[in-house]
Subunit: 343 residues, 2 copies
DNA sequence: CTGTTAGCGCCTTCAG
DNA sequence: CTGAAGGCGCTAACAG
């Protein structure tokens, strides 16, 4: 026997009062007599009543929900970011609907549609690795749907965003390698169309130029973020002549497999090859040697992202000026890039 | 100007036909004339119509959604599991609503409530670390709400579950250490009330007993899964006399920091201390030395979990017999536990 | 083949 | 302070 769902109507009938009175009592509206309110609450508790959120949202035409689109939750960076986003959203009284694109452009598109169908009031998006056109995002902005991009964005999308200064961070990290005696610095980059990767490449190249070092194209290799590919590209890079004595990596996710295979190959870090990377995942500190890495303010990024979205959600006017929040990063220096002889 | 949401009614008015005809046309019901169907589809596409899922679900009293409750998505194991669950659910035409408890009992309770309010049709749950009473879960089973526990379960909950044989896996791993010459084997366990941890402890102790080795209580230490605590407990364990020459760890999440601090301390792996662990996360292979670890069939676990839930969702009778699916694990042997001299 | 009606569970006027 | 009525967007009989 299927127990009939406990609804406002059920409670009302049981108590021989009207449905609307029950609704008011349960929502703590002041104009309900104390004893009927008490009776309602008692019965509701007893029956374990939970409001049907679908119905509430439908009636309100308001879900108090925001959609979050992540490239992949298997990256520690994004799952950590999700935590801060969830917390910030909760504090503001919003729920979060999370989707992962699994780095796929197609999946990103269907995820956005699903979130739209679920009537999310706004979007928080970091682009998937494979996303190389942006009509699905622009469709959102055209409809004036509140949207904030974070971390992985793209140029030309008319949306607010929360990002770091990738160019500057890469510039600094490269200078750090140079200061530690590196003369021939390689770069393991992300996919060629990934903007934040390209910005980091540009910063790296600018630093080389600034210090009169030659940026050799054969020392710039692209990776797709899989460990296998990272290993392969690392080996390829090290087979170039002259071999690099320094290495900047676009992400710890690539740096870890790289360090692994370098150890296998008997290449000493940092003596033969100094390494610096991005994201400063917890595991970077647990490497031997510890991995020098650009730390991103994950907590702040999550909070800022939500803050910018809330601003749009609460805005009176439709056309809010776009904002770009650039967060500060910090190079966390560990042994992987420290050479005794230099600096 | 806020663009009025595009609804069935809007399309119907524009086309001067009835709302239900539009509905039928859009859902591909056969009894609609070809040309009106075409007109409807054209306009819907033009207006970028997306059905309001809240309304659809309300009308159907059916959300085709299952709630997934994870201890934390920052653990690679669980985010990988989520991927396979999402895939299996999608194949069956279900959406997934994910929550993370952040290892908190309280958060787990509120997450369940939120998912109930969202009218999920069933639950997939792995218990949070801090969960040590189960009324919130039993409330679900009492209401006959479809539920499958996976990985982290508890005894006495009347629910189907998908698990591994923790006792056997720990027994095997311990025997493997013994075969590699370990005489004094320590165990870094999880929190004292975590069933799967206790099962692993029992398996470890059984293996020791089987081989006539003494299970010293001072060689069994509990960790809370934070890296800091893992480091502290590792140091504490190694300060015991006699010092262990073998170590079993309840999870790679604890083994990684442990290996790190052991290296810091100049303790050689596996020469001084052979190590084996659980979960076989991708980083286990990237460690130096590679970490021997019990591999769980993540994909299969996700699929089985969904399959058992679907069975309940599609069941005619209310009271389906409970099922427990025990999946096979495999000890992936790497250098961390291999000693040349022994075996 | 199409329109009308009622209803999913809840909220919100508007009367009383 | 309480009840009745209408509506949120959609589906599902029931007529025609």
């Amino acid at each position: 026997m299927k127990n009939t769902p406990v609804t406002l109507k059920a409670i009302a009938q049981e108590l021989n009062i009207s449905l609307s009175t029950v609704s008011r009592a349960l929502r703590g509206m002041p104009e309900v007599r104390a004893d009927t309110r008490a009776a309602v609450h008692r019965l509701a508790a007893e029956l374990d009543y939970l409001p049907n959120q679908l119905a509430t949202s439908l009636a309100h035409s308001r879900t108090k929900t925001i959609g979050v689109l992540m490239p992949s939750l298997s990256y520690h960076f994004y799952s950590a970011l999700l935590n801060s986003i969830e917390e910030a959203a909760m504090q503001a009284g919003y729920s979060v609907l999370v989707c992962q694109a699994n780095e796929s452009h197609l999946r990103e598109i269907t995820n956005i549609q699903n979130l739209m169908r679920s009537q999310v009031e706004g979007f928080l998006i970091a682009l998937a690795r494979d996303t190389d056109s942006y009509e699905h995002i622009e469709r959102l902005t055209r409809k004036n749907i509140p949207l904030v991009l974070f971390d992985r964005y793209a140029e030309g999308i008319a949306a607010s965003k929360v990002v770091i200064d990738n160019h500057a961070a890469a510039f600094n990290a490269t200078e750090h390698l140079i200061a530690n005696g590196c003369q021939t610095i390689g770069f393991l980059a992300g996919p060629p169309h990934l903007l934040i990767s390209n910005q980091r490449v540009a910063g790296y190249q600018a630093a080389l130029a600034r210090h009169g070092l030659h940026a050799r194209p054969e020392h710039l290799l692209h990776c797709d973020f899989t460990p296998e590919n990272a290993v392969a590209q690392t080996l390829k890079l090290m087979s170039q002549r002259p071999a690099p004595d320094g290495l900047l990596v676009v992400s710890d996710r690539i740096a870890f497999p790289a360090m692994y295979v370098l150890r296998q190959e008997g290449i000493r870090i940092p003596e033969d090859l100094a390494i610096a990377s991005f994201n400063n995942e917890p595991y970077a500190a647990l490497q031997s040697p510890g991995l020098t890495s650009v730390s991103q303010p994950i907590q702040e990024m999550g909070f800022e992202t939500v803050r910018l979205l809330l601003k749009q959600l609460n805005a009176e006017s439709e056309q809010l000026p776009l904002e770009t929040k650039v967060l500060q990063t910090q190079l966390v220096v560990r042994e992987s890039s420290l050479r005794n002889g230099s600096n």
